[in-house]
Symmetry: C2
Subunit: 211 residues, 2 copies
DNA sequence: GTGGCGATGTATCGGACCGATACATCGCAC
DNA sequence: GTGCGATGTATCGGTCCGATACATCGCCAC
């Protein structure tokens, strides 16, 4: 999952670790707290070894930083062509891990770079998974209620509520997706490169107005 | 977290691994999918090594199973006195990990075995944490909105909604807790032992009626 | 009666991710 | 000029997951 997220973010602009973490937190703040450096740096190393990202040697054309000679400054990474391929492959493939909380969140966060058929497939898979969880909770609340204490039951009720709410949310998104009114808009362009932009060209974007 | 959950469940009745997993799934189904055996068995081993649980040698008094001689049948574990102490200590101590999603869920699931002051402390800590997450999401939705695509924004909105809802839920629980109308009821007694029950004796239990 | 098959049951291994920790540099307020 | 908070890179031990393997039991079809 981290791999996918890093590749996705580096597709928008080259970045160093610290920055990456901040962007990751901003983009995925709704689903996970904050990525740990203990995961981030080893993953960067792994991606580099695989040839999917490289160190961008801090183009010293603009007089910005006063030429850090001795190394051990920030290390900026950028995605490679192979990395873009890898990203496309990861984003299009939907295995079981695509539908758990974290996996779905990460995939969803990059829906602007995902084609519509895949978006639909993922939304429906997620819905199915949440429906199963919901049924499980209903079973427990129905059949095993007397075996459990009041606090545990309250927890289940709250969870059930969250499931029902998420299913409704997904239904909405699926309906939007099918009718072509998908909420795809700016994509915030790939800074620092040619205008090479492989973002999807979906139909008229706009949602119900929201203040 | 797993350690706490296992100790808590074994306090209700001796069990073997498979059974433990099922109970765990029933009790924690609202917060996590299903515990993996790859976590469960090593943890059981660890708890046994620490002396907090022991193998309950399958009391062959009732003519139930036809005497499995060769071993390699089910291994039933039961909690020890030291284990109960450990559980009490874990349940009362509230560190940072107590307030993340999983940690809070597990603690909450054993609130029937937690004293009221600790319950209140944990609920308030959780509320604070969720409020912080909420503020983070509001910031992103306010300040960085134009940098993000429509899907990412939608994800944040959904997350924000979930935060607001959880805060309201926690407010309710805190109010109930303070007014003494805590939803503590049966506790489903410790089967298979003397009537030694160290459950809290809280005041009148009852919630708003629910069908 | 036997052969298969799904539920029950125990166990290990590699890998992903986290939390704590360490340490170095930069900008700036005092 | 110096202390201190933000920026920045890095490692280590530990928890947990997912895949996999394998053994037993009850039961139904043939």
């Amino acid at each position: 999952m981290l791999e996918l997220a890093i590749l996705g973010l580096l597709q928008e602009a080259p970045m160093h670790g610290y920055e990456l973490r901040k962007e990751l937190t901003a983009k995925l703040g709704a689903i996970r707290a904050a990525i740990s450096y203990g995961s981030l740096y080893p993953t960067l190393r792994r991606l580099q070894a695989a040839g999917w990202i490289t160190e961008a040697n801090e183009t010293p054309d603009v007089s910005d930083v006063p030429a850090l000679t001795s190394r051990r400054g920030r290390v900026v990474y950028k995605i490679t062509a192979e990395g873009k391929e890898r990203f496309a492959q990861l984003i299009a493939h939907a295995g079981p891990e695509t539908y758990d909380d974290t996996g779905f969140g990460v995939h969803f966060a990059f829906f602007a770079r995902t084609d519509q058929a895949t978006r639909l497939r993922i939304l429906e898979g997620r819905r199915r998974k949440i429906e199963e969880r919901r049924e499980g909770l209903r079973d427990v609340l129905g059949r095993a209620a007397e075996r459990l204490d009041a606090y545990t039951l309250e927890l289940q009720r709250h969870g059930l509520d969250a499931c029902e709410r998420e299913v409704r949310w997904l239904e909405e998104l699926i309906a939007n997706e099918r009718s072509g009114r998908a909420p795809t808009a700016p994509i915030t362009g790939a800074a620092g490169g040619q205008p090479e932009d492989n973002s999807p060209p979906p139909p008229g974007a706009s949602r119900e107005e929201r203040p």
